[in-house]
Symmetry: C2
Subunit: 240 residues, 2 copies
């Protein structure tokens, strides 16, 4: 059975303007790979309701899971929850379960649960909450869409909350062979290898560090023995 | 007149599998911002011809410019040029101008211009070349799509080649106010500010470093005086 598929949707002007370099996609990619879910696509859009809705609908239809990051805080530019509820035609309002979490949290910290903070309890009607052990305000899952915070430490904690609830497949395994020759010298060998092992994915990534140049050949797949066989053959053919 | 719009398409299994963390999008975002071109969307797809074609067609129609990175090297997994030619129904083959560049380069370096390396001279018929001062093998522009290498140092050099040829708009300016208070405390003030300055984009990005928590408020726009006015009002209202 093929692995479940996934897409990621990163929401935020700060990333598209170049102010902030996203790290959530790279983190999620690694976690999904370990969990046997294949990340097939990622999209980055700005804090714009129509852009969010269009993207989340397209991705939700095309893949088994969609993971979003960003736009669920207390400020005016945090519009993700409303946009996603609207995209799926679901009602949204202050949810009592989310409010209770926030009340307990702010009582402990001595901060006021004002109107802005209460916005973080706006959750689509039929969604289930995603636990946030870092700062309490929850994410949520609506259908196959998992909506999480953009702050990396919170995003990572939410991924850790939601991933064990999802059925994974075979983890994607990989082995890398470092070859100190130009890509162009090994390309034909790789091409024949890719034909012989068409159940594996074989990538070639050139590097140039301190005057040494070469390529890392990465063989990926779910069958460790096949990957071993491909790497062994490649090392022999290239005399590495 | 509004600024030209742009999208980016990042191509490569190595990024979606979590092996490599992309840096080209963050670099391009910063360069476009300086050049007055608004990056509206980015997509990441794997080394899959159909995925590349679908994405590049959608983005080419929706935005003034599309910038791609990845998949134009000499190995079997480098399929970007062919996929993009196919997407636009344009022929592709070894182009003599590109071949001449590679011949001169490999003669100088003493490496063989073999069949694999010659693949890097496969350029769509009506495309114009993008200069690559780092490693010679060119990128290309086809219509409004600018196709560039994935290796960051080469990607950056190609962006430097192509960007001056594109008409930019007003550079996006920004100022940041650091506020050592929780987002929830300043959210209402920000919301009113965003209403009063609806020609500007006002974002709020929480941080927590060494026990100090707060938020960076970023005001973006093309009119420096308006940004000044917004930041001044905000600082006064928050007593910063």
């Amino acid at each position: 059975m093929p692995n479940p598929t996934a897409a990621m949707l990163v929401i935020g002007d700060e990333i598209l303007s170049g102010r902030t370099r996203d790290s959530n996609m790279h983190f999620l990619a690694g976690e999904l790979t370990k969990h046997g879910i294949d990340l097939k696509e990622a999209r980055f859009v700005s804090d714009d309701a129509e852009a969010i809705e269009t993207a989340v609908k397209a991705l939700s239809q095309a893949y088994d899971h969609v993971f979003t990051s960003g736009g669920i805080g207390p400020t005016h530019d945090d519009i993700t929850a409303d946009a996603i509820a609207h995209a799926f035609g679901v009602g949204i309002g202050i949810r009592e379960d989310a409010r209770a979490l926030l009340e307990a949290h702010y009582e402990k910290t001595g901060l006021e649960l004002n109107a802005a903070r209460l916005r973080m309890a706006r959750i689509p009607d039929v969604a289930t909450l995603i636990e946030n052990p870092v700062s309490t305000a929850p994410g949520f899952t609506l259908g196959n869409v998992h909506v999480m915070a953009g702050v990396p430490v919170v995003f990572q904690a939410m991924v850790a909350s939601v991933l064990p609830t999802l059925t994974g497949g075979a983890p994607l395994l990989s082995q890398t062979l470092r070859v100190e020759r130009g890509e162009g010298d090994i390309a034909e060998t790789l091409s024949l290898l890719a034909e012989a092992f068409d159940d594996l994915s074989i990538g070639c990534y050139p590097f140039q560090v301190n005057g040494v140049f070469g390529a890392n050949v990465v063989v990926r797949g779910t069958d460790g023995a096949r990957i071993d066989a491909a790497i062994t053959r490649l090392a022999k053919e290239l005399g590495v």
